[in-house]
């Protein structure tokens, strides 16, 4: 210690400078200083310093990220960090609402579930609802107002709009056209009417490429008025679908799936079930559930319907099949349901055959159900005549999805001022003078009606991430309201419609507005007999259908949906020209061959996919692919809209096909379609099962449980024993469980190339098997999550014990411990394990910006080189356990619902505790229908299946 230079003293002791003080100073300040006096100690000190410098150097190896922590200075009301909040809202598809409950973590919506109170959901979801969360955070979403492609502001847009509106004021808005998608929102309708009142000569048009025109026109033909038909599948004994995919499409899809499967559920103890006949061209999941399926050209269905109606009316049947169906139709409560793609005449024919107690009618849910094709045609006519000076497009993508003969994109040029409100800068937006980003529905206030008229409020979970505007705000500015708020607009509307504050709050809480369900009305047939039109028969027919994963193209930007294997083809990231095996061999086509499809002078090229069960002499193309804009959407598949014309929106006989010599690799997730006679999938007829309930178990024996070297009680789960039962009989193969799992468990997207290599990451997959002749095979679905085997083969072979059993029977994967030998996957007979072959989580599809916000904070994000698999949603079990332990009770049956089970519209997946003999899952597992897949391997899977039964008319 150097001597003190200062003559200031710090204490009396220092001033006194006693030896004690000197000693204290040496020891106390600065540390180790006095050690310098001693030579040996100094060396010791240098050693220590050297070591600590070395350690300091080590610390420098990992650069600590600069992070700012901002805690809640004042905790917001209702928010407990780490605890999710749930809000009821609604999501629309094609204008119709399905009720949802949104899970929100610290202000971030992360997961969407169905709203059990909502008639179109009943707690279930479809794939689009599950995937909507990803759209919310999609960095590819439109983020700024664009003026001719350049960044601009909302204010600039408003002044430009108001200038045009001023000039239009004199002519009563004769040059103003508003183009919306299907509108069911009462508030939006009111606003539109207000705008039209202010500009009496303006016009409002509606257009969606997949619309309900045919249904509405069919009702008009049958009853003289437009009504919406509500089917009560749970009350029907016989269902005939004429091209209707009521389980997979349409505003009531989830409800119908529940009702239909309730009419079939044998696990409830019933010994009878409904019977489904399906006549269709494009194989659908409804066709896969059929007891009798008749593949035919879409254009032949009209004749089929007429013949059926003839036989139903008591005339001679044209064929034994018709006689069989007609007889069945007359013997019980029947529903004849027609696909939206069928012409109005077929709808009218069908209305005459449905039993009145299984079908009801309500006034149309849409406030103004326009014939959308007609509506768009008028708009295009006006546009090309130069009568349109201001075109406001509220959502939609008409430049992409309008009929090809309308040439909408080119006609847009005739409009002086084109404005587009939309979530993405799509094909239409780039042709507009102004583009305004639209708020996502999770950022918006609105309202919407369900298929049965029930109205829901749409409430925001988060401030608009990219400053989007809602259609309500957009229209309000047209009415001259400055700084409009969607909330005020919607609240005002409902205040005027007698919704007081309590009722409003209740509506927000329940997700539905009480008393808004459409009233059943009586209808009377106005025609005696509908003459079937004669259809020109050509060598080939083409069908245009909405895509099962990306719908009409609006979800093409969604990577979760792109990677979702389509229910029947198991295709990802592409559409294809679907064709039957016989027609393919007639035309010498193989899967992956590129063909040219020509309709009139228009042609497209697409890859062929041979699909068993497709109608012969016909092809199907799915809409929505071939987008030219968007980070994810562009350059996938081909654009089927390019040959879809207004005279043949659904199917056309005017098509030729020619083979090119090129190929395009399609990525499917399933390459083999037969069970090879293995008993992994068990099917029996209802009659056989009722006669002998042991037939399911007799299809494959399991070793008895006491045949073991270990004491059987040694590894029993003392507290809970989690297990799952999957009802193959009611599974409709809709994929909701797959994508629910993706959303819940932070499952990465791997992209087309990785899927083609066989590296998709889905923890639950739906296997689709065919049985019988390729022209009309029986189709079966089998969802396959981890089996959570009690004798898990994967656990035995892991060299580092990274996959082990927990005390409640879960086969858990310890990501931190996994070194990635992949031996467990090889030894898994079910092949349900998924491996991070590359660093999937930061790949190009999930840029590390906003998409991170979509993640479930309760599920680990996995790194490269680690195995992963279904956990039975262990995070949900933990959450339930915490709640139960707080209340000092056991977890109740039904308290833990896995993401897949929650999403399932058919309630085909049941999860629970088999230590509780009264739990739903325990009861299901006691049924004679229950069997273990590959049980003969003595794996003792905790996930078991209930066999599928068929109800053929014999």
């Amino acid at each position: 210690m150097p001597p003190m230079n200062s003559h200031f003293w710090r204490s009396l002791e220092e001033r006194a400078d006693t030896p004690e003080f000197r000693e204290w100073l040496h020891r106390e300040f600065p540390p180790l200083a006095s050690e310098w006096n001693d030579e040996i100690s100094r060396r010791h000190f240098l050693k220590l310093m050297g070591a600590s410098f070395a350690l300091a150097g080590l610390g420098a190896c990992t650069k600590q990220p600069l992070e700012k922590i901002v805690p809640y200075v004042k905790q917001p009301e209702e928010i407990i960090p780490g605890k999710a909040l749930h809000f009821a809202s609604a999501m629309t598809l094609g204008g119709y609402a399905r009720g949802i409950i949104v899970e929100s973590h610290e202000g971030r919506p992360t997961k969407i579930e169905g709203n059990p109170n909502h008639p179109a959901s009943l707690g279930a979801t479809d794939v689009f609802m599950q995937a909507a969360v990803l759209d919310l955070y999609d960095p590819d979403r439109s983020q700024t107002v664009l003026n001719a492609g350049a960044i601009s502001t909302w204010e600039n847009f408003l002044s430009a709009l108001h200038d045009t509106l001023q000039t239009q004021q004199q002519s009563g808005g004769a040059g103003i056209r508003i183009l919306t998608q299907t509108v069911t929102s009462p508030t939006l309708h009111e606003q539109l009417r207000a705008v039209l009142a202010q500009f009496p000569n303006a016009r409002w048009h509606q257009w969606e490429p997949v619309n309900r025109d045919n249904e509405h026109e069919g009702a008009r033909l049958a009853f003289g008025e437009v009504v919406d038909t509500i089917y009560h599948f749970d009350k029907a004994d016989v269902i005939v679908s004429l091209g209707a995919d009521f389980l997979g499409e349409g505003p009531a899809q989830l409800r119908y799936a529940r009702d239909f499967t309730n009419g079939r559920r044998i696990s409830s103890g019933a010994r009878k079930m409904n019977r489904l006949y399906v006549a269709e061209c494009t194989p659908t999941i409804t066709g896969a559930m059929a007891d009798h399926r008749f593949p035919m050209r879409e254009s032949a269905i009209e004749k089929f319907a007429s013949e059926l109606a003839e036989a139903f009316a008591g005339n001679a049947a044209a064929s034994p099949e018709i006689a069989m169906i007609s007889h069945d139709l007359q013997s019980g409560r029947a529903i004849v349901v027609v696909g939206t793609q069928q012409p109005p005449r077929v709808h009218a024919i069908a209305h005459r055959m449905s039993a009145r107690d299984a079908v009801s009618y309500i006034a149309p849910v849409e406030p103004e159900p326009a014939n959308q094709l007609q509506s768009l045609r008028e708009l295009v006519t006006d546009m090309s005549a130069g009568r349109v000076e201001l075109l406001l497009m509220l959502g939609g993508n008409p430049a992409f999805d309008a009929p090809a003969d309308f040439d909408f994109a080119a006609t847009l040029d005739c409009v002086k001022l084109r404005v587009h409100l939309g979530g993405y800068v799509n094909e239409t937006a780039v042709l507009c003078h102004w583009h305004v980003p639209e708020a996502h529905f999770l950022e918006s206030w609105s309202d919407a009606r369900a298929f049965d008229g029930t109205t829901s409020l749409v409430q925001p979970l988060i401030e608009p991430l990219f400053g989007g505007k809602t259609a309500h705000e957009f229209l309000a500015t047209m009415l001259g309201i400055s700084n409009p708020s969607s909330y005020e607009i919607v609240r005002d509307h409902w205040r005027r419609n007698r919704l007081d504050d309590n009722a409003w709050r209740a509506a927000l809480q329940n997700g539905v507005i009480a008393g808004t369900t459409g009233k059943t009305r009586a209808v009377a047939s106005v025609v005696e007999k509908i003459e079937a039109a004669t259809m020109r028969v050509s060598p080939l027919e083409i069908n245009f259908r909405a895509d099962p994963s990306i719908y009409d193209g609006r979800f093409a930007t969604n990577a979760w949906l792109q990677e979702l294997p389509k229910p029947l083809t198991k295709l990802t990231w592409d559409n294809a020209v679907l064709i039957s095996p016989q027609t393919a061999s007639r035309l010498d086509l193989r899967t992956d061959d590129i063909v040219t499809l020509q309709c009139g002078s228009r042609k497209i090229e697409g890859a062929v996919f041979i699909l068993p069960g497709h109608g012969d002499d016909a092809v199907t193309v799915h809409l929505g692919y071939g987008r030219s804009n968007g980070h994810i959407a562009a350059n996938l598949g081909f654009n089927a809209y390019a040959i879809r014309t207004s005279d043949a929106l659904s199917f056309s006989n005017d098509v030729t096909i020619s083979k090119t010599n090129r190929q395009h690799v399609l990525a499917t997730t399933q390459h083999h379609h037969s069970v090879e006679g293995r008993n992994i999938l068990r099917v029996a007829s209802l009659n056989d099962f009722v006669a002998n309930q042991k037939i399911i178990r007799a299809m494959g024996a399991e070793p008895p449980r006491d045949e073991s070297l270990y004491r059987p009680e040694e590894h029993q789960n003392k507290t809970y024993a989690w297990a799952m039962a999957i009802d193959l009989h009611t599974c409709i193969g809709c994929n909701a469980c797959v994508i629910a799992c993706v959303a819940e468990n932070n499952i990465p997207v791997v992209g087309k190339e990785e899927v083609a290599r066989g590296r998709e990451m889905h923890w639950i997959r739906i296997d689709r098997y065919y049985d019988g002749a390729a022209e009309n095979p029986a189709t079966y679905f089998q969802p396959l999550p981890c089996m959570h085997c009690e004798n898990a083969p994967c656990e035995l072979v892991c060299p580092v014990a990274a996959t082990v059993h927990d005390s409640e029977g879960l086969n858990v994967q310890v990501y931190n411990r996994c070194i990635g030998t992949r031996y467990c996957s090889n030894n898994c007979p079910y092949k349900v394990r998924r491996f991070n072959f590359l660093e999937y989580d930061v790949n190009q599809f999930e840029s590390p910006t906003t998409l991170k916000l979509a993640r479930n904070p309760n599920v680990t994000v996995r790194s490269r080189g680690v195995m992963e698999k279904c956990t039975y949603c262990v995070q949900r079990i933990s959450a339930a356990r915490i709640e139960a332990e707080k209340e000092n009770r056991r977890i109740r049956d039904g308290e833990v619902v896995t993401a897949c089970a929650q999403a399932c519209p058919a309630e085909a997946i049941i999860f629970g505790d088999i230590n509780d003999p009264n739990s739903h899952v325990s009861k299901l597992k006691k049924l004679p229908l229950n069997y273990s897949m590959l049980g003969e391997l003595n794996t003792r899977p905790r996930t078991t299946y209930l066999a599928r039964l068929t109800n053929r008319n014999t």
Partner: protein, 458 residues
Amino acid sequence: MNESAKEAQLGYPTQLIGERDSYESATRQIGSIVLDQKQPRSWLIGFTIAFIGVMLLMVAISYLFFKGVGIWGINIPIAWGFAIVNFVWWIGIGHAGTLISAFLLLMHQKWRNSINRFAEAMTIFAVACAGLFPLLHLGRPWVFYWLLPYPDTMGLWPQFRSPLVWDVFAVSTYFTVSLIFWYAGLIPDFATLRDRAEKRWKQIVFGVLSLGWRGSARHWARYESAYVLLAGLATPLVVSVHSVVSLDFSVGIVPGWHSTIFPPYFVAGAIYSGFAMVLTLMIPVRRIYHLENMITDRHINNMANVMFATGWMVAYGYIMEAFMSWFSGNRYDAFMMSNRFAGPYAHTFWVLILCNILVPQALWSRRVRDNHVVLWLISIVINIGMWLERYVIVIVSLHRDFVPSAWSMYGGTKWDYAMLLGSMGLFVALIYLFVRFLPMISIAEVRTLISEREEGTL
């Protein structure tokens, strides 16, 4: 009786050592390759090509560490691909050395004496190549040491029921014992080289390596007993290593893996491929370095015979596998076998049968065994066949197992091939270095043969 008369009587070459070879000539002939002989031009060319292979391996490994095992063709369900095929192939090749040196020593087979050194070196290099793959194939190779039972702060141990842990012990033990055995055999030769070296640094290097060997009778007595003990230790390893490697498969429940015949069948296959590789290397080396007097026709003939015999054991394994898959009545096994015969990878199976069973039948003929060009080609065919055998076992079994929906196809990527070629480059480069820097034939043991010949006890 001279050698040619004996040969005519017995019907196979009998000579073990050249008739004019003396202590001095043998020592000079072998030692000079290491100490002063200029290497033939082919050495430089061959080593350059092999070294390019080593560089290829380095590039492939670097990219692998950078990107992950996804650069390979593996997927679900075929989660093991080239890496495991290569591993088993190299380990199999690494079986001939210890068999020749240890097993044949205990059996008093004198014909091992002039080939054991080379075979042992080949073993070590092959095991080194093999050892790379289990580490490289890990999803997270940087935590490979979790496979070892070390005192982890969290009290975690490897999971000892997994055959992969047994593999770690089996392969590392085998490598260690083989290395020690090889080194022990080299000690007297190092001393010889030390004594013959003229440059100072060579004297020092070989002096250090020879561990103070002076060649006293006591040294030799200790040495001989130690060598036999080591041989006793190594001999069971010949059987155990590939048995344990085979358990990686037979413990699994995959049809085509789950089979009790695997351990003996794998060992036979390993010796088969090991002898094939020894022949592949020894025939050209013998020609290039003019070692026909020490590695005689009898050696080559004997090795061909061993190879042929083990080839039939392998064939028996194939037949039993096919028989049992039918006899067991197991639907999955039966399908697996019909899939091998006629599935999408049937060509690999039939080429394997051609390489491993049909072509080697030519070895019935003495003329084929004596024609070293043909024998060399057959040994290469067998090497290819044995690689395909592992391909069929690993990949063809995995690609179609229990649940048809999961069935898929596999194909190696360019990185898979880079790893395979690179490992071959490493192996060959090490062989080249070995030939150049170490005595490739045991000088001491050849001298033993010469002395026995002179005493007439050979």
